[in-house]
């Protein structure tokens, strides 16, 4: 069998590893338009700040693809520009064609950029290693002193912290009322906002950037919709990502926002699978289809897609958003629905010790199943709680203990959830 994978990142790699656990025979070909070796996108801001070197970005050992028996083709020429499901064939930008019996589309996502954004020097997005190399070079070349980051999501915050660590005066412009609105509720976000400010990151909110001020095609500053003018040498636009679905759409594969996949990670075409940031799958917490543009979710989906491509029919119904990151000294983990629209539909447990940078929240539905969690400052029990969500455990009997620092695996043994 010929297996073809488009994309050499989280989802594609996980698929390779799970295919090879069961199938050493099939040929695997992988195509990527990124010339770089396999690296972890999540570490890019660590590289930007200089806290890790380039080598540490590598996600797998050198020689990984060879060991896995993968025929890897990378570089701009291997950008897949056409997919023909009837002929089971893809065509790359350089004219090369590849045939497949089974295909995995793991093309990920690209940063959203406003239509009117000019191409002046000093304006960047941060998604690929090449972007970071460019940013680093530019910071050096112009001796950059001031930076603006537009967007208060995970990438925006990580970028702002990294630039700040590089010694730049950094301003974060957020269009919504709070940072991390996709991940945290208002109270938790307040703690993070304060933490950022205490570490000398200026936050403007709600503030959209309406105008770019440049001289000789070089960025000099920005204007916000509040009429403020900020001098800056660099602007990083981090306004979220959009799935790379063009290829699939043109091929007639079912696409809503992302490529729609079932619990086997299969698209509406029998031998075509999708996984990761490009895919829209059923989310157990939201109870609807959504894109969870997160590394861990991409790995899980890639892993399941791989199993199914290798003939190990496996359905996965436990997809849920999960985030773990640090903002300076504060560790944050969140799962699922953390700010339900109608809180009266849920029972919501909270512990707010904002002055100590501690906040916990657990959202429980009417069936006593946990639907969302925020752990800020104290994260030790996160995985134990996640296991309750994914196993759909009725938590009514020990609900009172969920927020306690003493809640742990032992608690589950006590209540017979774990037998030991």
């Amino acid at each position: 069998m010929n297996i073809l994978i488009i994309g050499n990142s989280a989802a594609g790699t996980a698929a390779i590893e799970s295919i090879r656990k069961h199938d050493r025979q099939s040929s695997i070909t992988q195509l990527s338009d990124e010339a770089q070796p396999l690296y972890s996108r999540c570490l890019l801001t660590y590289y930007l700040s200089g806290s890790i070197d380039r080598e540490k970005l590598l996600y797998r050992e050198e020689g990984f693809h060879k060991k896995m028996g993968v025929d890897l083709h990378t570089g701009p020429g291997f950008r897949v520009v056409d997919l023909n499901p009837a002929q089971r064939r893809v065509t790359c930008d350089n004219g090369r064609t590849f045939y497949y019996d089974k295909l995995l589309i793991a093309t990920g996502a690209s940063p959203k950029v406003p239509d009117n954004l000019p191409f002046d020097k000093g304006i960047f997005v941060l998604r690929h290693l090449a972007d970071v190399e460019e940013i680093k070079q530019y910071l050096r070349d112009v001796g950059a002193k001031r930076a603006v980051v537009s967007g208060g999501g995970l990438v925006g915050i990580k970028s702002a912290a990294a630039l700040n660590e590089c010694g730049l005066h950094t301003t974060l412009a957020i269009s919504s009322q709070q940072v991390l609105s996709q991940v945290l509720d208002y109270d938790a976000a307040q703690i993070i906002g304060r933490q950022l400010r205490e570490n000398n990151i200026e936050i403007l909110q709600p503030a959209g950037i309406t105008e770019i001020i440049s001289r000789d095609n070089r960025l000099k500053g920005v204007k916000t919709d509040q009429g403020r003018e900020l001098d800056c040498d660099v602007l990083i636009v981090a306004k979220g990502v959009a799935p790379n679905v063009r290829l699939a759409k043109a091929a007639g594969i079912g696409v809503r926002r992302g490529i729609v996949i079932d619990s086997f990670m299969q698209t509406d075409h029998e031998n075509i699978y999708a996984a990761g940031d490009v895919a829209e799958a059923f989310d157990m917490a939201i109870e609807d289809y959504t894109i969870n543009a997160l590394w861990t979710c991409a790995v899980q989906q890639g892993r399941i897609a791989g199993l199914n491509m290798a003939g190990k029919k496996t359905s996965y119904n436990d997809i849920i958003s999960m985030n773990s990151f640090n903002v300076y000294d504060i560790s944050i983990i969140s799962f699922g629905v953390t700010s339900p629209k109608d809180e009266s539909e849920y029972s919501v447990l909270t512990l707010n010790q904002a002055e100590r940078n501690i906040y916990k929240k657990i959202v429980i539905d009417r069936d006593n199943h946990i639907k969302g969690i925020i752990l800020l400052g104290k994260i030790a029990s996160a995985g134990v709680l996640l296991s309750l969500i994914q196993r759909r455990v009725d938590v009514s009997v020990f609900k009172d203990e969920l927020l306690s620092d003493k809640f742990n695996y032992g608690t589950l043994v006590k209540y017979g959830v774990e037998k030991e």
Binding site: R60, T296, N326, S331, I333, A380, S381, L386, S387, E420
Partner: protein
């Protein structure tokens, strides 16, 4: 593959395993020396109470450490590629040179086996004490509650 198991009915919650683990993972390898080190060595096993003191005649507790899972969620979640299965031993190991302390492993480990090394921002967990013949916790356990054996042997014991 051998793993560490805790037989709850034999555990006294004496925490000898915690001390032994911390010492075994310290520079000096003994408890007294360990206590004087700049960075307090951390135990990778944690005694967790099942019933709090007082609610039963005897405290019930379980020593929890890494299970070296068949399908390790920590390995799958790790964003740096720093957690993997050692090809020779089959153990799940954290490569500290790769770990960036993002705590994605803590996010998913179903037993809570990952311990933070706050200072260095690195994830620590049971490594079966590779320098020792028998893991330190097993040697230290005074009641034989902790055992290091193949899963099949454990299953037999429970019959």
């Amino acid at each position: 593959m051998k793993k560490v198991y805790c037989q709850i009915e034999k555990c006294l919650a004496c925490r000898s395993c915690e001390l032994a683990c911390a010492a075994a993972h310290s520079e000096s390898k003994d408890i007294v020396g360990a206590l004087q080190e700049k960075e307090m060595p951390r135990s990778r096993v944690r005694v967790e109470f099942i019933d709090e003191k007082g609610t039963l005649q005897r405290v019930r507790a379980v020593a929890v450490q890494c299970r070296h899972c068949e399908e390790p969620l920590c390995e799958q979640a790790c964003i740096s590629g720093g957690i993997h299965r050692d090809e020779e031993t089959g153990d799940i190991v954290v490569r500290l040179d790769k770990c960036v302390g993002c705590w994605s492993c803590i996010m998913v480990c179903p037993v809570g086996a990952i311990v933070k090394n706050e200072n260095m921002h690195q994830a620590l967990k049971c490594d079966f004490c590779p320098d020792l013949e028998t893991p330190a916790c097993i040697v230290a356990c005074p009641t034989g509650a902790l055992v290091y054996c193949e899963p099949e042997e454990m299953a037999k014991e429970q019959l």
